[in-house]
């Protein structure tokens, strides 16, 4: 891992260059001017764009869109989160791929949508066919309240790892917690493999950045509560407060940027936020480390479920299978820097695979238990 880390920076730079060029390629593709095909269907290149790192990638394995039944009809999708528009770009590509398919979306924070979906289910006014959310906790909440339909075995069997799929929802894009750090302030050796050391070691006093109001952070603390109980989590939070961490509003625009600027030395974020910072400032002195076997390295997943009351449940199920297609997984890996959920697609170059990480054992269903997390954060004095 250590050797690997020291190389990651350079390779992230390459990935970052790809990220911006693929974004442009995607745009022109959607406008219909980029495709050379006579029928204007997005090709694999449109899904993953072009660039140095992508050209090294093999043709993705798994089930290609071509091997799936055609999407046909109208689909309504609730997008919980949506990764700054990436998810809608993927939906647009599918929209463009099939003449007879149109999808409409509404984007809101995932926990809010989960509640809206349950309310709608209970009053018989279900609006959407699919719930596609950035975190497993909100998917679990909706499923626990009976608002989802069982996924077909065709859809479920596409997910390579049992941890990321249930009867009711399927993971489509993995995201790990990570420790981005400023390479001018710390060397790779100095970054510990435990979140406890971050909270206690003197060398991190006054140099940690975090975003305690951010949803992804709440997921992280919820995971920690499941792993070590409320008292253990409270102790960790209190230790962190002793380190006097700098408080930011978001893990992307703020914490990761703050580390790149040198305002703080390291932080606790989702693994793809620091990579996004590279996209904007390729010279940033920023690298990425992972802890081992604790909440600091837990792997969550974005996922999708079919809603009870959907106007076309079969189409919705087929859409979930499309999110798990080789092309869509390639898209999520190369443009969203996510861990792919199917065998045959690898994460982008610099990232380890999930197997190479050492995430803790955790039932993702338990991540729906966010309210006690908020109360704990309020109690400790981190949230007012």
């Amino acid at each position: 891992m250590r050797e690997r880390q020291s190389q990651t920076r350079r390779r992230f730079l390459a990935a970052a260059g790809v990220a911006s060029t693929t974004a442009l390629a995607g745009c022109s593709g959607i406008l219909g001017s980029g495709g050379s095909d006579s029928d204007d269907r997005p090709t694999l290149a449109d899904f993953r764009g072009s660039g140095e790192i992508v050209s090294d990638r093999p043709v993705p394995g798994g089930t290609s869109i071509e091997d799936l039944p055609d999407l046909e009809g109208e689909l309504s999708i609730y997008l919980g989160g949506g990764e700054g528009g990436r998810y809608t770009t993927l939906i647009d590509l599918l929209d463009q791929y099939y003449d007879g398919f149109t999808a409409s979306t509404q984007t809101q924070p995932s926990s809010q949508l989960a509640n809206v979906i349950v309310d709608e289910y209970e009053s018989g006014t279900t609006q959407a066919d699919v719930f596609w959310s950035v975190d497993a906790g909100s998917l679990a909440y909706v499923a626990e309240n009976g608002a989802t339909l069982e996924l077909s075995s065709n859809a479920r069997s596409m997910v390579g790892d049992d941890r990321f799929v249930t009867d009711q929802w399927a993971g489509v894009a993995g995201r790990s917690r990570a420790v981005p750090y400023n390479t001018n302030q710390f060397s790779a050796d100095e970054i510990p493999t435990s979140v406890d050391e971050i909270a206690t070691a003197d060398r991190f006093t006054e140099s940690i950045g975090w975003a305690p109001t951010y949803g992804a952070f709440h997921g992280f603390v919820t995971a920690m509560r499941q792993l070590r109980g409320d008292d253990g989590t409270r102790e960790w939070l209190n230790n962190m407060l002793e380190q006097n961490p700098a408080r930011y509003g978001s893990e992307y625009a703020a914490v990761s940027q703050g580390i790149a600027n040198g305002e703080v030395g390291l932080g606790l974020t989702n693994h793809y936020y620091p990579i996004l910072v590279f996209a904007n400032s390729p010279d940033a002195p920023l690298d990425l480390a992972f802890t081992e076997n604790d909440a600091g390295a837990f792997v969550n997943t974005a996922g999708a479920s079919v809603l009870d009351g959907a106007s076309d449940a079969d189409l919705a199920d087929l859409f979930v299978r499309h999110l798990l297609s080789a092309e869509a997984q390639e898209f999520l890996a190369t443009r969203g820097f996510a861990f792919p959920m199917i065998d045959g697609v690898e994460p982008v170059g610099p990232l380890p695979t999930i197997e190479e990480l050492s995430p803790p054992e955790l039932d993702l269903q338990s991540l729906s238990d966010v309210q006690p997390t908020i109360e704990l954060l309020e109690d400790v004095g981190i949230l007012s």
Binding site: G82, G85, T105, Q106, S111, S123, Q127
Partner: protein, 535 residues
């Protein structure tokens, strides 16, 4: 109060007060009942939870904190608006401030910046790691005071609502009789004494009216406290309505508390209004202008500082985003603007149509029922958009599931909120039509409807158009009900701005935000034109 007095005077001037027909009364009553539906729905919903349950929630939850936060905010915003609006009005009307005409326009202009866009730009400029912090960092400034919380929320609301006080105070200053001040001066009062004993009592109703508007705005605004992370009713209702683990009935409880505060504010205002029995002299003579002397420099600095904060910052930040964003600035799809346009046109048409019977009845009848219907249509104006949205969500999920999150329901929400604007302008133009003209048409054999169509309608058409334009323009900008009630896939300029703001892609918000500022500027033009039309 002043408005109804003016109406009474106009009515006397117009002549006889024949009671209009029963059909008009029935129509007006039906409209009033229709737009009161959300309020009824909310009360029904709240009563379902039971009084005991709601009362228990009062203490269990943080709702009393929210009440305190809201009241503190309203206090500071109202005070701040008076402290900025009144001096600006006095300076531009009663002194020899250089460039008075220019400063008058500049001081009124912040009203064209929707407050959530103001908040959005302020958070971007002055937030931690904001543009200002970046700009000051090379100069060795490490931390700037935090913009979030009470002071940020109050600052933004003051900067974008003080023009209410400015405009009403200005109107009062312009309409009062300057000879009174001169009389006071001849009785050996100093300028300050004359100002205190003569001017202040004369303009107090105007200041109060503006302060009321500012207070109601501060209570009902959703976007600013949300962006500035200050927990007030509107922001809490929106969150509570859709968060995990919120006790049942909590959003309804918050809504009721908010409405109670609105009712208290309105009651206070009407008491102050009634208590005012000052002599209203409609003299057109202006008092002698106060010579500022060397004070003109601080005075101009004051005007300039307000202008820089309330116009320079938001427009500067928007322009900066526009420039920075490059191609991303054109990210949004035209269908988004088209959607905004469609619902705004629909709301304007429906509101004008519904306003006709209410305004006609109110203008021609002085009965208790007429007053009641007139007042009821104003209910939506006093109810914050977030409460209208919540009530319509309840109503539609309980009783009319087929309307839930549909465009018609969204348009209905806009009509409830903005019908009073249409009623107001239509009523004042109806009052200017001599009823004898309609009578003449009737004696010449026209049916009541025919007489209305042939005689009244052409005469009030400009007023109807102005009312429709106002509804159109305010609908374009409406935020909370739009967020709560929009159908899936139905994105408007406002919901798009809200979405990209949440995602942090400010550049993509630049064009829609500039469009909305432009739209608001147009609504100012309509309001000003209408005032001229009213004489």
């Amino acid at each position: 109060m002043a408005a109804s007095e003016r109406l009474a005077r106009l009515r006397d001037a117009v002549g006889g007060d024949d009671e209009p027909g029963l059909s008009l009364a029935v129509l007006a009553g039906a409209v009033a009942a229709f737009v009161s539906l959300p309020l009824v729905g909310l009360l029904v919903r709240a009563s379902n939870y039971g009084f005991g349950h709601l009362f228990g929630l009062l203490t269990q939850t943080g709702s009393l904190d929210v009440l305190a936060n809201s009241l503190v905010l309203v206090f500071w915003v109202t005070l701040g608006c008076v402290l900025i609006g009144v001096p600006l009005a006095v300076l531009t009307v009663q002194t020899d401030l250089p460039g008075r005409r220019f400063w008058t326009v500049v001081a009124a202009l912040p009203l064209v910046v929707p407050s959530y866009i103001g908040a959005f730009t302020f958070a971007s400029a002055f937030g931690p790691q904001g543009d200002l912090a970046d700009a000051l960092a090379p100069l060795g400034v490490e931390r700037i005071p935090a913009i979030y919380g009470l002071h940020g929320t109050a600052l933004v609301l003051i900067l974008f609502t003080y023009p209410y006080v400015f405009l009403t105070t200005r109107a009062a200053l312009l309409s009062f009789d300057g000879t009174l001040v001169e009389a006071a001066r001849t009785l050996n009062h100093s300028r300050w004494e004359a100002f205190k004993r003569v001017t202040v009592p004369q303009i107090l109703p105007g200041v109060t009216a503006g302060a009321l508007l500012a207070a109601l705005y501060a209570l009902s605004d959703f976007g600013t406290p949300s962006i500035m992370r200050y927990e007030v009713f509107t922001q809490q209702i929106y969150i509570a309505q859709r968060s995990l683990g919120v006790p049942e009935g909590y959003p309804a409880l918050l809504s009721l508390q908010l409405l109670a505060v609105v009712a208290v504010v309105l009651a206070l205002e009407s008491r102050i209004g009634e208590g005012d029995a000052s002599y209203v002299s409609r003299g057109s003579r202006q008092p002698g202008r106060i010579t500022l002397g060397v004070w003109k420099w601080p005075a101009m600095a004051f005007c300039a500082a307000v202008a820089v904060l309330s116009l320079g910052v938001p427009l500067g930040v928007l322009a900066w985003w526009f420039e920075q964003a490059g191609a991303a600035v054109f990210d949004f799809e035209p269908v988004v603007a088209w959607n905004s346009l469609k619902v705004a046109v629909a709301a304007a048409l429906v509101a004008s149509l519904l306003a006709l019977p209410v305004a006609g009845y109110a203008a021609r009848s002085s009965s208790l029922f007429s007053t009641l219907t007139d007042r009821l249509t104003y209910v939506g104006y006093a109810i914050p958009g977030v409460v209208v949205g919540l009530a319509l969500l309840y109503l539609s999920t309980e009783f009319t599931q087929s309307l839930y999150k549909t465009v018609p329901l969204l348009v209905f929400a806009y009509v409830v909120r903005f019908l009073p604007q249409a009623v107001g302008t239509v009523r004042s133009s109806v009052l200017q039509v001599d009823p004898k003209l309609t009578e003449a048409a009737r004696t010449l054999g026209r049916s009541p409807f025919g007489a209305f169509r042939k005689v009244t309608l052409p005469l009030i058409a400009p007023g109807v158009a102005a009312g429709a334009a106002l509804v159109f323009l305010t609908t374009m900008k409406e935020l909370p009900a739009t967020l709560m009630l929009s159908p899936i896939g139905f994105e408007t300029l406002v919901s798009y701005i809200w979405l990209v703001r949440g995602a942090g892609s400010y550049g993509a918000a630049a064009i829609p935000a500039l469009v909305l500022v432009g739209v608001s500027a147009l609504s100012m033009v309509v309001i000003l034109a209408q005032e001229r039309y009213n004489g």
